[in-house]
Symmetry: C2
Subunit: 139 residues, 2 copies
């Protein structure tokens, strides 16, 4: 709680209940929710909050480095409060997205040759496949 209020203030953003609610929800889940999911989850406690507020808040958070946006090829973006670089596993059957904390696959830009002519600032590694529980159901 202290971290977010501090981070917001440091970046000249106001600390509002909406922003705190969104950030806390992202901290508590590992499900990489979409804006829509966040909206539905928070609706009971924040019935007045609009979807546009979620989008704007997530956009602020992204700029400030509190969350990372994740685009795995679905129609909508997902959001992750774990901002250190790490690969993701995506089940193409149920849509589940999992974090993968493997150091060897988390800093691949270091393995790039010098002459590619790009200054790399960020990397994203996605693995698509079928998760265990979906595979069991199919069998």
């Amino acid at each position: 709680m202290k971290e977010i209020t501090q981070t917001l203030r440091e970046n000249g953003l106001k600390v509002t209940p909406q922003r705190i609610a969104i950030y806390n929800m992202l901290l508590e889940t590992h499900a990489h929710p979409t804006a829509e999911t966040i909206y539905k989850t928070l609706s009971p406690q924040h019935p007045a909050m609009s979807l546009a507020t979620i989008y704007k808040t997530l956009d602020f958070f992204k700029q400030v480095g509190l969350v990372q946006e994740l685009n795995v090829g679905e129609s909508s973006s997902r959001y992750d409060a774990m901002v250190t670089p790490h690969p993701h596993l995506i089940c193409t059957h149920c849509g589940k997205v999992e974090d993968l904390m493997i150091d060897e696959l988390s800093h691949l830009h270091q393995k790039l040759p010098q002459d590619i002519g790009f200054d790399i600032t960020f990397e994203q590694l996605l693995f698509y496949g079928i998760c265990h529980s979906c595979k069991e159901k199919e069998a």
Copy 2:
């Protein structure tokens, strides 16, 4: 030319001028165009072709394995006729997307531990940064 007609026929799809035009355009470019870009590029020679046809054709091609869809976080998808797995470089300044043919970074799923509980079918590695020409302009 032979390859696409053959592939389409093998998959029970009709060979039409539109499909051939779209596939040839993708073979000739390395720019990873969007549906909209393909549409505009082909309009002069195929003024009657509709955007919906492009989308549907790209969808067929994807299913059949003639192209791969590429989602780098923009609002629209890009398409690549190079279907062997390879990383991509994205310039966050001008939006350019380049192929990166590096074997070491093209089969990373082989480096995954056995116990992740996923059957991986596809991987995508994206590097975001500033390209050389954008960097020069900024300086």
